[in-house]
């Protein structure tokens, strides 16, 4: 039943390409971490990156919004384009890029500030709100978007760090959503959460794809199968196979993919 539902959804999703990666190479010092990655990520789609630990999926994710810039020894080559514009072009300010490409991290990392200030921080620094009422509206919309509003609406001034793990991660999603990005990158967003919180976040991801292109890195193949329409399998820095999630899990083309999915490597 799940499969038929997802097939139906896939049919309506428009197949526009949001992010194009061509011949992407990443080095950490002398270590060649990503080799020749070519991938097209679609708009309004959840794309999952799976693969064993250390295969480069998180590294590649962090290349998309240039978070790797903060690592001195990291070097990126090749072309990653957002809507046809190379994000590694000299004219691109990574700060502007990151406003368009939001990110949610593995460990919930709310700022040690109030719930309100956590969500309002992005809009404030990007000048998205003209006045307090605007900002209030953005905060409410973002928290509703992250399915957290009902739980926190009465305690917006309390510290964000006082929430439970699952709530904190949804707060981080709300914070990312508040800057009105076009792409949302999620680096193992559920690995620190219990099954119930994971379920809530997954449900949320499913809703988010109506507005954004979501890219999620996950260790859990079940999660990839549940939330994504496209799946990319990374192994030892190579993008081994990329295709519709159903195809990857039911008819993998590459023997390495098959081994991983069936639990023989990893």
């Amino acid at each position: 039943m799940m499969n038929t539902m997802r097939l139906a959804e896939k049919a309506v999703a428009e197949e526009t390409i949001k992010i194009t990666a061509r011949d992407v190479q990443v080095w950490y010092g002398d270590k060649h971490a990503i080799k020749d990655v070519n991938v097209d990520i679609l708009a309004n789609t959840v794309t999952a990156f799976i693969g064993p630990s250390g295969c480069g999926k998180s590294t590649f994710l962090r290349c998309i919004n240039r978070m790797n810039d903060t690592i001195d020894i990291c070097r990126v080559e090749g072309r990653i384009a957002l809507d046809g514009e190379d994000v590694y072009d000299r004219r691109v300010d990574p700060v502007q890029l990151r406003a368009k490409v939001g990110m949610v991290f593995q460990k919930p990392n709310p700022f040690p500030k109030s719930i309100y200030d956590n969500v309002a921080y992005g809009p404030r620094i990007h000048g998205l709100a003209r006045n307090r009422a605007d900002l209030d509206a953005i905060v409410e919309k973002s928290l509703r978007g992250a399915a957290l509003w009902n739980e926190v609406k009465d305690r917006l001034s309390e510290p964000g760090t006082g929430l439970s793990g699952g709530q904190q991660q949804r707060l981080c999603i709300a914070r990312a959503v508040a800057t009105q990005p076009e792409v949302l990158l999620m680096d193992e967003p559920c690995s620190a959460l219990d099954p119930i919180a994971t379920g809530q976040v997954e449900e949320l991801i499913d809703q988010l794809k109506t507005q954004f292109s979501v890219v999620i890195v996950t260790h859990s193949m079940q999660q990839a199968a549940r939330v994504s329409q496209k799946t990319a399998f990374f192994h030892l820095g190579n993008l081994v196979e990329y295709g519709d999630t159903d195809d990857i899990f039911t008819r993998p083309q590459d023997p390495r993919t098959e081994s991983y999915i069936s639990g023989r490597i990893g």
């Binding site: 978070m67 903060t70 001195d72 990110m103 460990k107 709310p110 700022f111 990007h126 800057t179």
Partner: protein, 455 residues
């Protein structure tokens, strides 16, 4: 994983192992380990006890020797300001009266004491004129003169003057001067001591809290009873202000740049090593540097708080940089990721998120650096702050260029003087210095508690 699914049948069923002794009896290895642990705990307690004893001993000796500096003996007798002496021309012209020397007022004091003895029927065998003269502090006649010059209407009247007694008389009430010591001391005699006892009985000698010790400038070798730490405290305060204003922003900016912006390469490694080295450079070397750079090369005045402040700034900078970098390093990287992830610039990340979280550590480091600078003596000796300064520096900013002293230097200065009364002052100044350090450390703890946030 595959092993686990395939081999359960292969695991042999466990057979009950032969018992190796009861749990109720500790075996040899356990006894040995427990003994080692008990020994280690005893060493720890012993170390703490030694530290505590040292601290108690230090505090005890300092307070025993220095508490006297906060009490002072004053002579309180009626003095007739005879017009013949203080205003020989008889025209009450302050300019004319200012020509009368302090020495003449000394004679008035001596006469007043003789009169008081006659009026109270105090007679002491063998009391010489020198004993009477030496009863008062050299400061007493100067004070009387200032009083008259400030208010010429007092001339010819009898006033109740309360003036400093000499350090020998003062020492008698603090147990420093006894009949035995008086016999060996040219500056006092047993007659003088007898007079002091008689005056105390009649209430003409009072001992009270010595506010002059806090407010007076240093005094010459002959009048320890008039010496105070006012100029030294003000000089130390000026220097601390300079250190705070210069070292905190420079140190924090340098550490933020090194920690958050600078590329990690050979140059930054070199800088880092050198900052650590700088923290270990003996303070007297900074004194030489200050002498060469600020006084000889830049031509700043000697003994001035500005030079002392600059030297102490150089000395404090490594401490502040090292503690600030440690505080910045302690901020979890996930906070930086979070801020960068929503599109904050590096500077916004640092100033909105990292710096507030590092604040308690930075403040603590700064205050500890300041406390270190406050107690530093050696570099100040080299830039001339050991000079005798008996006038207050004016208000900043000009006052920063005026000669001043510093608390630790004043302690050193007094400790080197011969008169035991100065030794008492020296210990008194140590008490004041320790109180300042205690307050600064309390402030550091308070700020740490206040700004500490959990995540």
């Amino acid at each position: 994983m595959t092993d686990l699914t395939q081999t359960p049948a292969a695991i042999p069923t466990p057979t009950p192992a032969p018992r190796k002794g009861s749990l109720m009896v500790a075996d040899k290895a356990t006894i040995r380990r427990n003994r080692a642990e008990a020994r280690f705990k005893a060493y720890g307690i012993g170390a703490i006890c030694i530290a505590l004893i040292a601290l108690v001993f230090l505090l005890f000796t300092v307070i025993r020797d220095g508490a006297g500096a906060f009490q002072q003996t004053y002579v309180s007798i009626p003095v007739t300001l005879s017009a013949d002496v203080v205003d020989p021309k008889g025209n009450r012209d302050p300019a004319e009266m200012a020509k009368v020397l302090t020495m003449s007022y000394g004679k008035l004091m001596d006469a007043a004491l003789t009169d008081w003895m006659a009026a109270n029927a105090v007679q002491i065998e063998g009391l010489s004129q020198a004993d009477i003269k030496g009863f008062f502090s050299g400061q007493a006649s100067a004070e009387l003169r200032n009083m008259v010059l400030a208010d010429p209407a007092l001339v010819g009247q009898q006033v109740d003057a309360t003036v400093l007694a000499s350090s020998r008389v003062d020492g008698m009430f603090k147990g420093r001067v006894t009949d035995e010591s008086a016999a060996r001391d040219a500056k006092t005699s047993s007659q003088q001591i007898a007079l002091a006892r008689a005056m105390e009985e009649k209430g003409a000698l009072v001992t009270r809290f010595n506010s002059d010790f806090i407010t007076n400038p240093d005094a010459s070798d002959n009048r320890p009873e008039a010496a105070g730490i006012g100029v030294a405290m003000l000089g130390s305060l000026y220097m601390m202000l300079i250190v705070l204003v210069l070292a905190l922003p420079i140190g924090v900016a340098a550490s933020i740049y090194l920690e958050e912006f600078a590329p990690k390469n050979r140059w930054t490694d070199l800088i880092e090593v050198n900052i650590s080295n700088l923290a270990a450079v003996p303070s007297i070397v900074f004194g030489i540097l200050g002498l060469a750079a600020f006084i000889n090369f830049m031509g700043l005045p000697r003994s001035a708080p500005i030079v002392g402040g600059l030297v102490l700034t150089l000395m404090t900078l490594p401490t502040i940089i090292i503690s600030t970098r440690a505080a910045l390093k302690a901020v979890p990287p996930s906070i930086r990721d979070a801020a960068l992830g929503v599109g904050a610039s590096r500077m916004q990340t640092v100033f909105h998120h990292v710096l507030p979280l590092a604040m308690p550590g930075i403040l603590t480091g700064t205050i500890i650096g300041l406390a270190q600078a406050l107690g530093e003596t050696a570099p100040l000796l080299l830039i001339g702050m050991v000079a005798f300064v008996s006038t207050y520096p004016s208000a900043p900013p000009e006052g920063l260029m005026d000669p001043a002293s510093a608390l630790p230097v004043q302690v050193y200065n007094w400790a080197t003087r011969a008169d035991p009364a100065f030794f008492e002052r020296s210990s008194g100044a140590i008490i004041v210095l320790l109180i300042f350090l205690l307050c600064m450390n309390l402030l550091a703890i308070f700020l740490r508690r206040k700004f500490e946030r959990r995540w």
